[in-house]
């Protein structure tokens, strides 16, 4: 069993990072930044938070390749679905 040290300080640090990212997201909306910039910031914050949880809480980094693929395969499938659907659903005549 690989050593998964859920030490208290690690968890607190992760929690702090998540809260900071949350504040950034909230600030971009509160300050009313221009739309396209705000959208970029919001989605980068969300992606960063998802990465932080995946890496620290779910211990994805220390997992072997099988769990890694099981985690990433659906995400890739959804992105493929979005891109292939877009010409018809998003921009149809």
């Amino acid at each position: 069993m690989e050593q998964t040290d859920f030490s208290a300080s690690d968890s607190l640090k992760t929690w702090g990072l998540l809260v900071v990212l949350l504040l950034i997201g909230v600030l971009t909306v509160a300050l009313g930044l221009p739309r396209s910039l705000a959208l970029w910031v919001i989605f980068c914050v969300a992606a960063a938070q998802a990465y932080v949880i995946g890496r620290y809480y779910m211990r994805l980094r220390s997992e072997d390749v099988l769990i890694y693929t099981l985690a990433l395969l659906p995400v890739v499938t959804v992105i493929v679905l979005a891109f292939v659907l877009s010409p018809d659903v998003a921009m149809h005549r």
Binding site: P74, V78, L81, P87, V89
Partner: protein
């Protein structure tokens, strides 16, 4: 090793103490659950065949009164057609191929004592049981079952003003489908975890039988493709019951979205049905031609590549559906690309027979019948996958004949082959060969007599889902073809009687089956028939691949996968 034997003995005592309920109805033993799936699949199969008998009679002799049903009205016709499609795909093909064979065989073939999560496995059966009960109830609900076709396109299935009186039928159809998806997802979790994590020592992934490979890839395909459709089903359910407008054009949404979500799931779904069927054929062919399967690794890679490509082809169902025509070109190309791995598998299966010693017992007959018809099914897919010819052939009987020639050989004909082949292992008794052969001849000849005329009706322009074909003059020359097809169906139904007698009689009065009646090499034949509660007395060690038949320099023409010390004990 000693430790596992002690443990095995302990749990077999536990097995005796369990009363009827825990041993048979609420059992967590994968073998009992496999049989429960088999009985559910067979029962729903006969319901589905009865429904096809009703509408085929109406098609052959429009307006006449159908024995055991009476006159078929237009709403009843569309209800019967819809329920036939739904029951056969989701409540016959999936439970039999994935539920019955997957549950019964995967632990035995990879050398595990049981599935990874036995309780989850039991839950998966009872979930699909509830789903099928709900679907059958929808027949008796006011307005009957869903009338919107097994694909249930919106907005027809969306607002009840388009299908008056079909409110509860449509809702129950959606709920039964969602429950069926949940059940197969639970099964998939078990299949993947068992096959990946609980293989016997020595059973590397390249020594797993092809049926296990096909079941695994099918489970992954299902798991990755069903999510968006569950979302679609929930959205459609909200539209029908709450009144939201996820698919209604007047609310600014796009009806084509449902077709995309349905077929994004639909096409991997037909491979989820086809792959285990082909897996069964690939298990049976080597045993009865005493020859290893041709190109084991090539077939495994072909299955994986076909699985990946199956996510890129779905819009060939929608060439003429009002979708942006520019999209039709890429999907034609991917449809050709996916025909390549299946062509590889087909040619490899034919090559397996080359210079073999073929015995024509019933499982082999069904396997050969399935292979022959799957070639016809695959070949007739090209005109539908090519965009130009699909303009004319879409939604005609050509499409119906095509997908029956791919689904029926894998789910029904190969499924029957699998039942005849593994019946001794499941019930410890042999099935009668002559009744089996009669059943094969009636079923296979009847099947071709139904669907070859349907190809011609399709080319003649006869479109599907037409209740009264006398409305159109161009249908008049095609009517005799419908009559031939219905007579073919009656032959199939007649052929099921010897099967039922054989199936239920042999279960109690068939000849006692030895551990390995067919001299096969895979692990499930290395233990008694029927296997003890914990499958193997001691977990076998695997020393060779699954298809080592007529090895040069070996007197015996088959070499069991399990280590020789195990083979001695299992001679039985």
């Amino acid at each position: 090793m000693a430790e596992t034997t002690l443990e095995a003995a302990h749990s077999s005592e536990a097995h005796e103490k369990m009363g009827f309920w825990r041993a048979y109805l609420f059992s967590v033993d994968h073998k009992v659950i496999g049989k429960q799936y088999l009985f559910l699949g067979l029962f729903m199969g006969f319901v589905g065949v009865f429904l096809s008998y009703v509408f085929r009679w109406q098609l052959a002799w429009p307006g006449s009164s159908v024995p055991l049903w009476g006159k078929v009205t237009a709403p009843q016709y569309y209800e019967v057609v819809t329920m036939h499609g739904t029951i056969m795909v989701f409540f016959v093909a999936m439970p039999v191929l994935l539920g019955a064979f997957g549950n019964f065989l995967i632990p035995l073939m990879v050398g595990a004592r049981d599935m990874a999560f036995p309780r989850l496995n039991m839950a998966s059966f009872w979930t699909i049981f509830v789903g099928s009960v709900l679907l059958l109830i929808s027949f008796f609900v006011p307005g009957g079952g869903s009338h919107a076709g097994w694909t249930n396109y919106v907005p027809l299935s969306d607002a009840s003003k388009y299908l008056p009186g079909n409110y509860w039928g449509g809702n129950l159809w959606l709920i039964a489908l969602a429950i069926d998806f949940a059940s197969v997802l639970m099964g998939g979790i078990n299949f993947l975890t068992t096959a990946i994590a609980m293989r016997a020592p020595g059973m590397t992934i390249w020594r797993m039988p092809l049926l296990v490979w096909q079941e695994l890839v099918a489970s992954v395909l299902f798991m990755l493709s069903v999510g968006p459709l569950i979302a679609g089903v929930v959205m459609l359910l909200c539209d029908r019951m709450v009144g939201t407008g996820f698919f209604l054009p007047e609310k600014g949404a796009d009806p084509l979205l449902w077709q995309h979500l349905f077929w994004f799931f639909g096409h991997p779904e037909v491979y989820v049905v086809a792959m285990p069927g082909l897996g069964i054929v690939q298990e049976i062919l080597p045993v009865f031609s005493r020859k290893p399967i041709f190109g084991y690794r090539m077939i495994v890679w072909a299955v994986i590549v076909a699985g990946i490509l199956s996510f890129t082809v779905w819009a060939h169902h929608m060439f003429v559906s009002g979708m942006n025509p520019v999209l039709a070109e890429p999907f034609s190309v991917t449809t050709i690309a996916i025909s390549i791995p299946f062509a590889v598998m087909l040619f490899a299966m034919i090559a397996t027979l080359w210079r073999g010693q073929i015995t024509f017992s019933t499982p082999m007959l069904f396997a050969l019948g399935a292979l022959a018809n799957f070639i016809l099914g695959g070949v007739t897919g090209i005109p539908l996958g090519t965009n130009a010819s699909d303009i004319y052939l879409h939604d005609t009987y050509f499409v119906i004949a095509h997908f029956h020639n791919t689904l029926v050989p894998t789910a029904i004909i190969a499924g029957f082959g699998g039942i005849y082949y593994w019946f001794p292992k499941m019930f410890g008794r042999m099935m009668n060969e002559t009744l089996g052969k009669i059943h094969f001849i009636f079923t296979w000849v009847g099947f071709n007599m139904v669907f070859i005329p349907l190809f011609l009706i399709g080319i003649g322009g006869g479109q599907r889902r037409i209740y009264m074909s006398s409305v159109y003059t161009y249908y008049k020359p095609l009517q005799p073809l419908h009559v031939i097809a219905t007579i073919g169906l009656l032959i199939i139904i007649a052929g099921q009687i010897p099967f039922l007698i054989n199936f239920f009689m042999s279960m109690f009065r068939g000849a006692k089956a030895p551990a390995n009646p067919w001299n096969a090499t895979t692990l499930e034949w290395a233990t008694d028939s029927p296997p003890p509660h914990e499958n193997f007395h001691t977990i076998p060690t695997v020393v060779r691949g699954p298809y080592d038949y007529s090895l040069p320099g070996m007197q015996q023409d088959w070499a069991p996968q399990a280590a020789s010390v195990q083979a001695g004990a299992a001679q039985g």
